[in-house]
Amino acid sequence: MRRVSVRGLLDLIHIIEWDLMKLKHQTLFVAMRTTWFILQVLVFGTTISMLVRYAQGFNYYDFYLLGVFTSLIYSVSIARGYEVADEFDEGIIEYHLALPVKRSTLALGRVLGGSISSFLFTLPMFIFIMILIQPGNWLWIPVSLVAIYLFSAGVVGMAITIVLSVKSTDATDILMGVIDALLIRLSTVFYPAPILAKIMPYYYSALINPVTSLSDFLRVLFLPEYVVYTSLPPQAQLAYIVGLAVGFSYLATYIVSRKLEAGGWR
């Protein structure tokens, strides 16, 4: 009855499906989150933009739109880490470890599945941002989507690595909370790099922050005039995002393949 089939790629697809199945159950949540995002951008974004005066020709509203979207994709991606923690708590990880799938495939599948899921979760909000920004060159949309996806893969990989390394609900909550606070605040999500440059340690933290890389990369793509306000050239930002994705995917795969076994969750 059991079928001998070509595995590998199929296994990877099936593991990715696991996260997509979970996303399917969150349709209502996605709709609510999208509605809230639209309200946030229209009401809070407009209000704050009227208050901020920085430089001649600097439109804070457009700057804010791509920043707030970056913080959103980061938060949604990091939430996958919490979901993996819940799965460990409920024994789902044990179930996955017993499946006839290579450990490396399992880890890579969860990173890819989590990032695709996060990407799809935020897609309606990205479309809304694009409608507001009205990009001059529509070709930059697929480029930006690739960058957003890679960023999400890196963050999901990081979250999975942390959760599976610490194996503790409390430690996960604390670590993720600290990382979340630091990465979002020490970045150019809401403040342009020249402003941050006035507070030196803050500025250097922002420079090495992947959240900065994505928000600045998206701004350079869709708002070319903002290139003077970014800290690094877009090629460097993109390289950093690719590095993040590859690095943390590898680390998550390594942890699952070599170190992970069931039990020991605190």
């Binding site: 009855m1 179930y95 470890l97 017993a98």
Partner: protein, 326 residues
């Protein structure tokens, strides 16, 4: 004697499905399993008998590569769990003691995903899942969320995963716990069919009746050590004197002295207010035992002579009662 020897020879000729070699598993300072050695044969139903916390689940999960051995190794059809874990997983199907699903999982959706992961195409998965759900009387629950299922239905869902897979080695961790009696009988038949269709089955249980009813051989595991392995009848035969006198007493009196006196009759095990004496000619010795207890000022509540059950076997080998410890 000839038949007995022929039986042993037959056993020795059988293909070894699982070979456990000096397997030890520690969690921090706690040793869950200590130096376990065991062979489980191809196409047999093997029962792991022991109270909760005795090391059954740890051993089963290590066979399924979910845990890694601290030392020693386990071979599944010749593949090492430490060096060829993926090869092992391709041969093993596991039904966990606590059913594994998220609250928001739907029965059919989860099982179809499971079927695809174990190698079925999308179309085949739908077909096999329907067959298994119907076999287990779960079809009407197919669109329910996991949180809507009763404990017994959840156990059936867990077993369904293994039935879909039809693995070479099926590991079932307490498959009928929380299940009503008629369903238990049905599940036991299904487990036997699984074996008849070519699977080796390992069952962890603390249900004596289940072990007697389903298992061909039984391993008694206690405090992380394997204390006996044999067929159910073989284990019973290993109780040396054939009969068991079971005495329930009331009040303590000179209990220790009385027990000392009873030892002249045979080996005595006691727990709480129940004494068990392993003797020959039980009927004769029972009266004598009652007299000894009475003269020690101990009231006898009930006295019974019986042939040994698997429960007696467990008591004999471990000095503990399985059900109470569970």
């Amino acid at each position: 004697m000839f038949l007995f020897l022929a039986g042993v020879r037959l056993m020795e000729d059988r293909v070894v499905a699982v070979k456990v070699v000096n397997f030890t598993k520690r969690f921090g300072n706690f040793t869950a399993v200590n130096g376990l050695n065991l062979e489980i044969y191809d196409r047999e139903i093997f029962g792991f008998l022991g109270p909760n916390g005795s090391g059954k689940t740890t051993t089963l999960l290590t066979i399924a590569t979910v845990y890694k051995p601290t030392s020693g190794d386990i071979f599944v059809y010749g593949h090492s769990v430490t060096r060829e874990d993926y090869e092992v997983r391709k041969l093993v199907g596991l039904a966990f003691q606590d059913p594994k699903a998220l609250w928001v999982d739907k029965v059919q959706e989860l099982l179809e995903w499971h079927a695809r992961v174990v190698g079925f195409s999308r179309g085949e998965a739908k077909k096999v899942v329907r067959e298994v759900l119907e076999t287990l009387d779960l079809w009407e629950h197919r669109n329910k969320y996991f949180y809507q299922l009763s404990g017994g239905t959840r156990k059936k869902l867990e077993l369904a995963k293994v039935l879909i897979q039809r693995p070479r080695l099926a590991i079932l961790d307490e498959p009928t716990a929380q299940v009503d009696v008629p369903t238990k009988h049905k599940l036991w038949n299904i487990i036997k069919e699984l074996r008849d269709q070519g699977s080796t089955v390992i069952i962890a249980t603390n249900d004596m009746f289940e072990a007697e009813k389903v298992c061909e051989r039984v391993g008694i595991i206690y405090k992380g050590r394997l204390v006996a392995v044999d067929t159910v009848s073989g284990l019973k035969d290993r109780i040396p004197k054939g009969d068991v006198i079971e005495i329930v007493i009331e009040g303590d009196g000179r209990k220790d002295k009385a027990i000392e006196s009873l030892m002249d009759l045979g080996r005595v095990e006691y727990q709480g207010n129940t004494l068990r004496i392993y003797v020959e000619k039980g009927e004769e010795k029972a009266l004598l035992a009652a007299d000894i207890l009475r003269s020690a000022g101990i009231k006898v509540k009930s006295i019974m002579v019986k042939e040994p059950t698997l429960d007696d076997v467990f008591m004999y080998f471990t000095g503990a009662r399985l059900v109470e410890e569970s």
